[in-house]
């Protein structure tokens, strides 16, 4: 088992109540491994307290990266959330805490 943090990097983005989380392996050779291990189910389980809605995983073979688009992830939305981090900017770091 290893932390995702050592294999890949991530950037969180926000649109309304949707969080986008990219997952980009440091070495492109690790892309198949990341695709195999970091499934939608695994992400939902790992970030269960945030991700309330549908999650779509896009596989961008052209840049050997994944993109998770997570609905209902930002406590109602960036502009009205009571969270200290209403944009969910910190979610990328939490995603990388996943053990695979």
């Amino acid at each position: 088992m290893t932390k995702l943090y050592y294999l890949a990097h991530s950037r969180a983005g926000d649109k309304g109540n949707t969080s986008t989380l990219s997952l980009i392996p440091f070495n492109e050779e690790d892309y198949p491994l990341i695709c195999e291990k970091v499934t939608v189910e695994k992400v939902r389980e790992h970030l269960w307290s945030f991700l309330q809605g549908d999650i779509i995983r896009y596989e961008l073979d052209n840049i050997k990266s994944l993109l998770f688009v997570c609905e209902e992830a930002l406590s109602g939305g960036v502009t009205t959330s009571l969270s200290l981090d209403p944009h969910g900017k910190c979610l990328s770091s939490l995603l990388l805490e996943m053990e695979i």
Binding site: H9, Y58, L84
Partner: protein, 437 residues
């Protein structure tokens, strides 16, 4: 017509640093400088400013940014495009013209208006986020359509040196000069241009900002982070780079992160100009801080524009207080139990308690013995009235003498929160206008 143009991004949000744009204008050999300063909610807040004073409602940093850039725009013959007009592009353009004349430059300044569609909102439009009608969101304070490249193209054709817009889709600010210079018309070309615009629009986020850490993702000289430039060719290929000697890094990793940033569907990234496809994009590192971007493509855009609608959401009340030492967490939890009872009210719709902390009280910051050494209790609530929101902080403050032992450093805060919902509107119902001042 030129075969290549250089476009720099000198700001990625309203509060961005000032120096990078000046460095770009001075040393970037730019043809165009774009300042993207308008977040989703900024325009709603600016609209309220405009209601108080009809000559305001534009970006609060407009004068500071423009003043610092004018000499370089003149010397290097750079065209400036910015959405700092916010809720009042006309007043902003008049102000910019005044600043130009003060510095002795007779620039042509253009204002693009038409994005403000509040008076066309019927209230029956469906909210994209929740499928209810927009009138159910609350009292509406603003409605701004995301315009595309057309208005900026008209201003460029009128030979404007400085173009001030309100709400325009961010990538369109960058795509417009490409289309103007290269005469692009095909969706494939607009798609690739939108990819380039999307990569540039957040400024330092392409060059190591929001990227760096201290282990695997170090960047050089981060304090002097330089902002990005795209050298775009007529055939659509672009080389991303930055001014030599500035800090940060621009490489495959930083570009991949930004390419996917805030993308809801990489197959269909919709703007008013095109539906861009990011899944064919190819990236190649050419050298230090140089990445080649090719193969972005797209299909024709629909005839609907997204409209951001600002509405009065609630009053936010906040209070914070710190507890330190052995049972800091337990005393914080006791404080929460007390507040839960004291803050019971029909006017409090939702309340949230956070325990924050590592070593904010301890002076000997590097020698944290217990974990956590101290805790800061934060209380935040959505309230239906200002008085109820103010009471949140007041009750937290009252914990000093009416709560657990050793509570310190109380702060309180209250403000009205404007929420944003989106609706669609037919393009034909959103006429734009270019005014030269």
């Amino acid at each position: 017509m030129k075969d290549t143009i250089r476009i720099g991004c000198g700001a990625g949000f309203s509060g961005d640093r000032f120096e990078p744009a000046v460095i770009l204008a001075e040393k970037g050999q730019l043809d165009y400088l774009v300042l993207e300063c308008l977040a989703e909610r900024t325009i709603a807040l600016a609209q309220q400013q405009k209601q108080i004073n009809p000559e305001l409602g534009y970006d609060p940093f407009l004068e500071r940014r423009i003043n610092s850039l004018l000499p370089f725009l003149a010397r290097r013959k750079i065209t400036l495009i910015t959405n700092m007009g916010a809720a009042n592009p006309l007043a902003a353009a008049r102000k910019v013209k005044e600043l130009c004349l003060k510095q002795g430059f007779n620039f042509k300044v253009a204002a693009l208006t038409g994005d403000d569609v509040l008076s066309s909102i019927t209230g029956n439009e469906k909210v994209i986020e929740n499928n209810r009608t927009i009138s159910e969101s609350g009292i509406l304070v603003s409605a701004n359509a995301y315009l595309g490249i057309e208005g900026i193209l008209e201003a460029l054709a009128a030979d404007a040196d400085i173009i001030i817009t309100g709400r325009v889709a961010d990538p369109s600010l960058f795509l417009a000069p490409m289309v103007f210079e290269f005469g692009w018309t095909l969706a494939e070309q607009l798609g690739q241009g939108t990819v380039i615009g999307h990569l540039l629009e957040c400024g330092g986020q392409l060059t190591g900002g929001y990227f760096m850490d201290v282990a695997g993702k170090q960047v050089s000289n981060p304090a002097n982070l330089g902002f990005p430039i795209a050298e775009v060719s007529k055939n659509g290929t672009a080389v991303l780079t930055k001014v030599a000697g500035t800090g940060g890094s621009l490489n495959l990793r930083t570009v991949k992160e930004q390419l996917l940033y805030e993308v809801l569907n990489p197959h269909r990234y919709a703007t008013p100009d095109v539906i861009a496809d990011f899944t064919k994009v190819r990236l190649k590192e050419l050298g230090k801080d140089e990445v080649l971007v090719t193969d972005g493509t797209g299909t024709e855009a629909g005839n609907l524009l997204k409209v951001s609608v600002g509405y009065k959401a609630y009053y936010l009340g906040e209070g914070e207080i710190s507890y330190a030492g052995y049972d800091a967490v337990d005393r914080s939890k006791l404080a929460i139990t007390i507040l839960e009872e004291r803050l019971k009210s029909d006017e409090v719709q939702e309340i949230r308690y956070d325990l924050i902390g590592l070593n904010s009280i301890n002076e000997d910051k590097l020698n944290v013995r217990s974990f956590p050494y101290d805790v800061r209790l934060r209380v935040a609530a959505k309230c239906t009235s200002k008085a109820a929101a103010q009471r949140i902080g007041e009750e937290v403050e009252a914990l000093y003498t009416n709560g657990p032992a050793g509570g310190g450093g109380c702060r309180k805060y209250c403000k009205e929160v404007i929420g944003i919902h989106s609706v669609f509107m037919e393009k034909d119902n959103v006429p734009f206008k270019v005014t030269l001042v």
